[in-house]
Amino acid sequence: MLDRRSLLVRGALTALASGVAPRMAFAKAETDRRFVFIIQRGAADGLGVIAPVGDPAFVSQRGDLAADLVGAPRLDSMFALHPAMATTLGLYRQGQALFAHAVASPYRDRSHFDGQNVLETGGTGPYQLRDGWMNRMLSLIPSGEARAIAVTATVPMALRGPHEVASYAPSALPQASDDLLQRVSMLYQGDSQLHGLWSEALSTRELTGDLAADNGRAAGATGGLAARLLAPANGARIAMIETGGWDTHTQQRARLTANLRGLDAMIGALRAGLGPVWDHTVVLVATEFGRTVAVNGTGGTDHGTGTAAMLIGGAVKGGRVLADWPGLATANLYEGRDLKPTMPLDAWVAGAVAGQFGIDPARALTGLFPGNAGAQPVTGLIRA
């Protein structure tokens, strides 16, 4: 009877024969660069994470929500980092964390679902593009490195598109028997959709070994799992992790603290799990839009516009907060309520991807964010 490894090989041979094999790596030399996108679904409050405590209007605008932040560790003369992010603070002080503030995607309304669609597709408006910018990124980088995985049960929008992408999340179901797996392979042979999904599922299972027993419920475990999928030489080069719980309409203080503690643990586990590979890694943390500057009637904040984003990793030229700070005085706010965006998130992400994979920045911008080609990519984010 076949074991899973020989099954895989057979699957690959079949794929080759039918001409749908992954493109072979030729031209460019491979490097060992890794890129991780941690998406914050629900509109994370950038003002509560990277707090502009040096802005004279901060305390009056933020009311109760300022309390955790006025004494928080300072990043520079303007910004402080939320105290729940101790690991991230350490990385910042080692020059491995870079923050951008008052950033926004091109989307200017306040629907989570449309906003996440723009954040993930890289379009200038919702539902304008049908594939995700991370999938398009796979066309830009050396093809030998174009292996991506979603650390989720299904593939999120940012990774969807013509390039095949694997997905994996821990499962407590007992593993199916090898014989059944083999028969399912045969059953799906004539069904192009299921055949493709099944080949991915088998190869991912092969890579993770006994991880299925792990219950990745905590964020740290998820970060560790992602690291295990990324660390091997033949592992994924690009990964995406989804996080939720950022839509803090009520009781933001406690909820944001708990969420940031989880995010910090996830980043710590990624760093620990990647070992020496961390030196070549960039982790992008970004959300669809920010939240209102003012606190609402229920100890929370409502949907807003400008927010903060992070680049973390050994490859990041960090220890800085990049912001063309618009100010929090009411007259300076976007539509009188939100942090005014002064830097396009797209330009920042394109600059990071370009630096990380040695792509021309203008080409990265056009490839990832085709509608935003007029913007100026932000360079100098990544160590050479």
Binding site: R41, G42, A84, R110, S111, H112, F113, D114, A150, T152, A153, T154, V155, A166, S167, A169, P170, S171, A172, L173, P174, Q175, A176, L180, R183, V184, L187, Y188, D191, L194, L197, W198, A201, L202, G216, R217, A218, I241, T243, G244, G245, D247, H249, T250, Q251, A254, R255, T257, A258, N259, R261, G262, L263, A265, M266, N296, G297, T298, G300, D302
Partner: protein, 512 residues
């Protein structure tokens, strides 16, 4: 696919072992409209929102009593000489989040208290007991929903119940939502599934689960009596929460980008102030008196923002509770709502990319009938786009689980088992995590890992199934629609149980 197979799978919930194949598929579907009985309200030991709310109210009372006895919880922890600068504990109603949250969404690590030396903590004990009760209620409700789907004689209408419950999604994330989430379907969706859209909308937006989930229960008019009183004390900011107003317009009725503005959302939020829940609506000015049983919808005049409102160019004179109700009725009758609902129904039956002609027809039917749901269901059955090959929909984890159980002839489920299975397959019931509900497109469900999990689950279900001969069962489940590949795989299987597992994960079962 044959018409019979389409009726059983695409419109229904999957064919059931031992059931007769409908001779006239369209008639079989239409007669279900007359035959449906809303079964689950108050059925057997399934708790309603009144019972769940009473438990929550008792828990909040207990917490208040503990605070009076010990002072704030933080003080108790400090007295126990915990390590310095313990970060603030998440508030009580955020804790024991939910039964087995899906792995990737549970970002917050388990309670920070766990790592510290064990001190008696009556707050934590009370919270644990409340969370346990909520999880138990939730599981009983999920099992009741599944049992109904497995035994119903009107599976098409049952599918429509699931459709509307997802359209009006709430999510069992916070403690108070865990027990309440399912009661919205039982009390506001099922009784109205054969009524008008406006009736269902009015029932949903007054239901305690929705009022709490989208924060309406804590929204206060800044110029209302309560708002001004609290404002005058100057200590706490109180005011509007526009969450429900926005999601009613964006998700429940008009649909996103249909011409309403931020100002419309805010005006609607003002009109909705005062709509709250007795006994368990927390926050400033929360309901402490008990004129009404906990969980009852209540209009509290002294929290309502006084004055006339203008929404989408139309004036709504001051009128207390009736003001927001008038807005709801106008939203239900709006052409944008008709198109939004028509699009979602067409996507559910006609395919991920809703056929434009089908959407146009359903929109017209909606407007002509005043949003009469049975008329819309008949129009779905009459849509030629609904009867085409190949199967346009990839089954969601819920749909696949129910179809598999029906195929195996299962009629009862253990609450903990069904909850666990749906979590592992990636679609915990009533827990989409966001008010938009679960996606209704293949891209969200057809992932490599998702398919692997179904294979793992199928093997386990098949092992436990009563002895069924998959060779005889398969052609009955898919009358005149079974592929040679599936027949061959089943015929060559090494055991009856392996044959059943292959049937459950066959391409025919994965789609509808």
């Amino acid at each position: 696919m044959s018409d019979a197979s389409i009726a059983l799978h695409r419109f229904g919930l999957g064919a059931r072992a031992g059931e007769e194949i409908p001779a006239d598929p369209r008639t079989w579907l239409v007669q279900q409209i007359g035959a449906y009985r809303a079964p689950l309200s108050g059925a057997g030991d399934v708790p309603g929102s009144a019972a769940v709310a009473a438990q929550l109210a008792a828990f909040y009372d207990q917490q208040r009593a503990l605070r009076e006895q010990y002072g704030p919880r933080k003080a108790l922890k400090a007295a126990a000489a915990t390590p310095p600068a313990a970060p603030p504990a998440p508030p009580a109603n955020e804790m024991g989040a939910a039964p087995l949250p899906p792995p990737m969404n549970a970002l917050a690590p388990a309670s920070g208290a766990a790592a510290q030396p064990v001190m008696p903590d009556p707050f934590a004990d009370a919270r644990k007991a409340a969370a346990r009760q909520a999880r138990q209620d939730y599981a009983v409700m999920v099992a009741a929903r599944a049992t109904s789907a497995l035994t119903t004689t009107t599976p098409f209408i049952e599918r429509m119940v699931h459709f509307w419950a997802n359209h009006f999604a709430v999510s069992a994330d916070k403690l108070q939502m865990v027990g309440l989430a399912g009661t919205l379907e039982f009390e506001a969706i099922r009784p109205h599934v054969l009524g008008s859209f406006a009736d269902m909308l009015n029932a949903v937006e007054r239901h305690p689960a929705m009022l709490l989930y989208l924060d309406q229960a804590v929204s206060i008019g800044p110029d209302s009596e309560v708002g001004r009183r609290i404002g005058a004390r100057g200590k706490r900011k109180v005011g509007l929460n526009e969450n429900l107003a926005r999601e009613i317009m964006e998700l429940h009725t008009l649909g996103v980008r249909t011409g309403y503005t931020q100002a419309d959302v805010t005006e609607f939020a003002r009109a909705l102030t005062g709509w709250t829940v007795a006994g368990i609506g927390r926050g400033p000015g929360g309901m402490r008196d008990d004129r009404d049983a906990p969980g009852t919808f209540r209009f509290v005049a002294n929290r309502h923002e006084p004055g006339d409102r203008t929404i989408r160019g139309k004036a709504y004179p001051a009128g207390g509770e009736a003001q927001a109700a008038a807005v709801l009725n106008d939203l239900a009758a709006d052409p944008a709502t008709a198109r939004h609902i028509a699009t979602k129904l067409a996507r559910h039956i006609g395919g991920d990319t809703p056929p434009p002609a089908m959407v146009d027809r359903l929109t017209a039917v909606y407007l002509r009938s005043g949003g009469d749901l049975p008329t819309l269901y008949r129009a779905l059955i009459d849509s030629p786009e609904a009867w085409r090959d190949p199967a346009p929909k990839f089954r969601t984890p819920w749909e696949w689980t129910i179809a598999s159980f029906r195929a195996l002839g299962v009629t009862t489920v253990r609450p903990a088992a069904i909850v666990g299975l749906l979590n592992q397959l990636g679609q915990p019931t009533w827990k989409p995590g966001q008010p938009v509900g679960y996606d209704d497109i293949a891209g969200s469900w057809a992932g490599p890992d998702a398919v692997m999990r179904r294979v793992e689950a199928a093997e386990r279900l098949a092992t436990r199934a009563q002895q069924q001969d998959a060779r005889a069962l398969a052609p009955r489940l898919f009358p005149a629609a079974l592929s040679p590949a599936t027949s061959t795989a089943i015929a060559r299987a090494e055991s009856p149980s392996q044959a059943l597992a292959l049937l459950l994960v066959s391409p025919e079962m994965m789609r509808r």
